[in-house]
Amino acid sequence: MPRRSTVMPISTPKKTPSRIWILGIWATFIFVSAWVVFRADYRADISAFLPKNPTPNQQLLVDQLKDGVISRLTLIGIEGADAATLAQLSKRVAAQLRTDPQWASVNNGEAVAIQQDGKFLLDNRYLLSDNNKPSTWSVAGLQTALNESRQLLSQSAGLFAKKLVPRDPTGEVMRMLDDLVANNAVATVSGVWVVPRINQGKQKCGQSREEECAKSIQNSSRAVLMAQTKAAGIDLDAQQRAMESALHAFETAKQETANAADASVQLSGPGVFSALSRERIKSDATRFSTIATALVIMLVWWVYRSPRVVALGLLPVATGVLAGIAAVALVFGSVHGITLGFGATLIGEAVDYGIYLFTLIRRDNQGNEHINGATDVVENSSAHHTMKLIWPTLRLGVMTSICGFSAMMLSDFPGLQQLGVFSVAGLIAAVLATRFVLPNLLPHDFQIRDGSLGQKLASLAHAAPRLRRPLTFAVIALVAAGVINRQSLWNDDISNLSPISLSEQKRDEELRTALGAPDVRFMVVTESADLETTLQAAEKAAVALAALRDAGLIRSFDTPTQFLPSEAAQNARKQALPAADTLRARLDEAVVSAGFSRNVFEPFLTDVEATRSRLLVHRSTLDGTQLATKVDALLVQKPNRVTAILPIQGMHEDAELQQKVIAAMAALGAPNASGALALPNIRLMDMKTETNELYQTYRHQALAYALAGVVAIALLLWVTTRSISRTARLLLPLAAAVIVTAATLLALGVSLSIFHLVALLLVIGVGSNYVLFFDQQLTKDGSLAPVMLSLVVCNLSTVFGFGVLALSSMPVLKAIGGTVAIGAVMSLVFAAVYLQPAAAQNNE
């Protein structure tokens, strides 16, 4: 129950020009910032996590992630109906998406593009097949080939193979298909990809009734579609639209199809994941900030009982957030979602500013008489006066926070730079709003309600130093433990930071496996300035990889040269083809002994002769085939730089054997004796290590800059206090708080990520305010009662605001929320523990 009404109009007898000016400038600033924020471009792609000066491997990674063919891939899975219905749904969805200009290609196994592929392979088989060499065309070679074909005819596959044998007795197409199929075949129902969902049926059929069992078997299929967007994977708005169009296509198809009531669709793929995570960060951030804001409002309301004060308390926060986002948008041209996530952190500090002011007013109002005439009563004298009193401390607090964050601006990573700019601009705006705007808007005779709460809190605080000794030991022990276990403190597996849930990652995996597209970790990369050189190098690498495959070190690999060989290789193959008469004579000799009827091979002779004058295969020859997508994925063509990628599937798990693969690839890249024919830059890349290393660099840099920030804070305190011992005393509670917070997280089974690091920095930012106010109060009169309430309210608001974020499923929000909530409490407790006797001895 409020003892007195604080709800008063901002009734000031005379509006001084300075007040009008200040409010006018502030309103203009808010308006302009809001406009910038509203117009800003928001992103959630990984570019902010990519270094500005990448290594060649990183550059490749970056290119692929930004706009590579792979980044444009969307996998669509449809399930929850019988196979025939799924097939129909798949056809309808594909038909609709094929007419949609957003999609570059849609493949669901239908014959649409596949006939093109078959024609391409058949027509160009002698240019594409590396089996085409002079020895194949000798009488003996032909005989061997014909014998094999004959055996094939007596096998199960013979039923299908016999259509092909008269055209292709040497089995070139079959061989290419074998390579293509490798271990993967996508099952189809009525011509479209419908795959059994592994184990699904069997598991359900253990004990359950027969009908259910039958139904679950019947519905245990999944239709899969593979689509490419036209837009790059990094264009999240476009990815979002494409995703929506796919969902819409499914809903339409579902309504048109009978028995499809229970059917459901899942989308997967890099673009989908990026768009989804942006949505999720957005919705989680919105939801939890709303809850957090509500809690903070309730708290402030409970203390001040005034809606206006509640609103005013949030004013510096709002100003700071707007200014921060606007500054990032202006400096970087776009705002990254993660910056916004970190930005939540600003709330924690900025909301304190108002509270310091509000809570301290009453006391200073009481002792108001002694203030000198200069400040006198223009409007809300008490607010202005209090502001002047606390300003030095507040200013120092803000400056320490700024020091902490501004180091981030020097980073090599745009993500960290954005964070730095955001925090610095936000904090400055928030503190200026507190300093100049708030006092002008506060009710004329604002006073917080009296209470014994402050006294109680103060007596608690006075008892705190007893904990000092045990706490100091604990901190030292924790530091020692941390040093010993320093290897396992940090979590460098980037996938743990992905906002994509495990079940979604698993489904992505399933869809990929169904389509025979497992996650690729290792790949051989080669690049040069022109296409022909790169292709030739890729062919050499492919030969080496084939040897490794035959030796069992890898399971299989892909190469763009499978469908786009170098011109040199194609010309050699052309040369190997014998003239028509020669071939006919040799074939006649081989045919009878191989048990074939005479004259069945006329189509073969015609094809070989046609190939001798055929144009070489170029990238454009592949147009209209699905194989073009494959080649484009494996061949990155940029001006003056053509990169071939040869992904390796099933690298041997044994580390020693892996070393052999690495060595074999390294040998390829090394210049040979003459040096003249050295292959351009062939290297083996481990995508997982590469991405994790990238992240590690990011984290190392963040850590380095955070430490630099701490040093800057220490310097600032020293310059201000002119006392090394006092600086040390001020820093001690903060250091202890950071250490205990980190230890608490680790004890809870959390391994620290970059998000925790930034959150710890924020703990220092927020905590330094507590420490400074605490210290100021002690220095002044040794009594904590007046300042305790404001500190506790600040602390609770931080705990509420961030504690709620800890409930989010987004790693970034969760990490920041939990860390800051714990850290804020620790900072205050440790300030009470460490600062008091120091104050007693120290009278400046």
């Binding site: 014959a111 592929d117 199960s156 039923l159 199929v181 593979m226 990026s274 992905s498 990652q505 990929r512």
Partner: protein, 224 residues
């Protein structure tokens, strides 16, 4: 933030294309001639009495077959293919386990194991060290053959009638089933499958392909 986890994986996806190639574009028969309504050709018998008799015989034969829970037979298969100047011959063992699993283990001239279970065929080409899983409905020709063999082996009349029109001749101890695929896509490859047997044992399966080639698989009971 998806990072590198999902990059470059899909490349291999196009391998999928290959199975389609195998079934659709290259090897599909070029003649899209509609089957001359196979349904009507065999099943409409003139005499109602004869139909009843046939019906009874068919049920009798199927009941005998259905009573077999497992069987093992040596087989010799001859393929009469126009491309070859002599029939291609292979031999091996056929193992059946009720209701829907059978294995054709070819031993000569090249070892190969074809296992049919539910709607999947596993082809294990032992000689070439190549294994392949095939979803049966994907290959109409394969589906026709598998349906005929499995339908006859299991004695499942409704299942057999779903896929074929059936003509039966002979008597209960020496019978012959003439199966004609009902499905146009299957008929495009397979015109008929003749299954002959004694009592509960199938001793020959002859497959007539639409291009005139045929294959004859003869079975003799093997020690279990």
């Amino acid at each position: 933030m998806t990072f590198g986890k999902n990059s470059l994986n899909v490349i291999a996806a196009l391998k999928a294309v290959a199975m389609m190639l195998a079934s659709l574009s290259i090897m599909a028969p070029v003649s899209p001639m509609a089957p001359t309504s196979p349904t009507s050709s065999t099943s409409s018998t003139s005499s109602l009495h004869a139909a009843d008799a046939n019906d009874a015989l068919l049920k009798n034969v199927m009941a005998r077959l259905a009573s077999v829970k497992s069987a093992k037979a040596d087989f010799v298969e001859k393929r009469f293919v126009k491309l070859l100047n002599a029939p291609a011959e292979s031999s091996g063992v056929l193992i059946y386990t009720a209701p829907d699993r059978f294995e054709k283990h070819t031993k000569k001239p090249l070892e190969e194991r074809m296992t049919v279970e539910r709607d999947m065929v596993t082809l294990d080409n032992v000689a070439r060290k190549k294994q392949q899983q095939i979803f049966i409905p994907q290959f109409p020709a394969l589906a026709a053959i598998v349906d005929a063999m499995r339908g006859a082996l299991s004695g499942n009349l409704p299942q057999l009638q779903q896929a074929f029109s059936i003509a039966v001749s002979g008597n209960a101890t020496r019978w012959k089933l003439h199966l004609v695929p009902l499905e146009a896509s299957q008929y495009a490859y397979i015109h008929a499958v003749d299954v002959t047997g004694r009592d509960d044992f199938i001793d020959a399966i002859e497959i007539f392909q639409s291009d005139g080639d045929r294959s004859l698989m003869s079975m003799t009971r093997a020690a279990p």
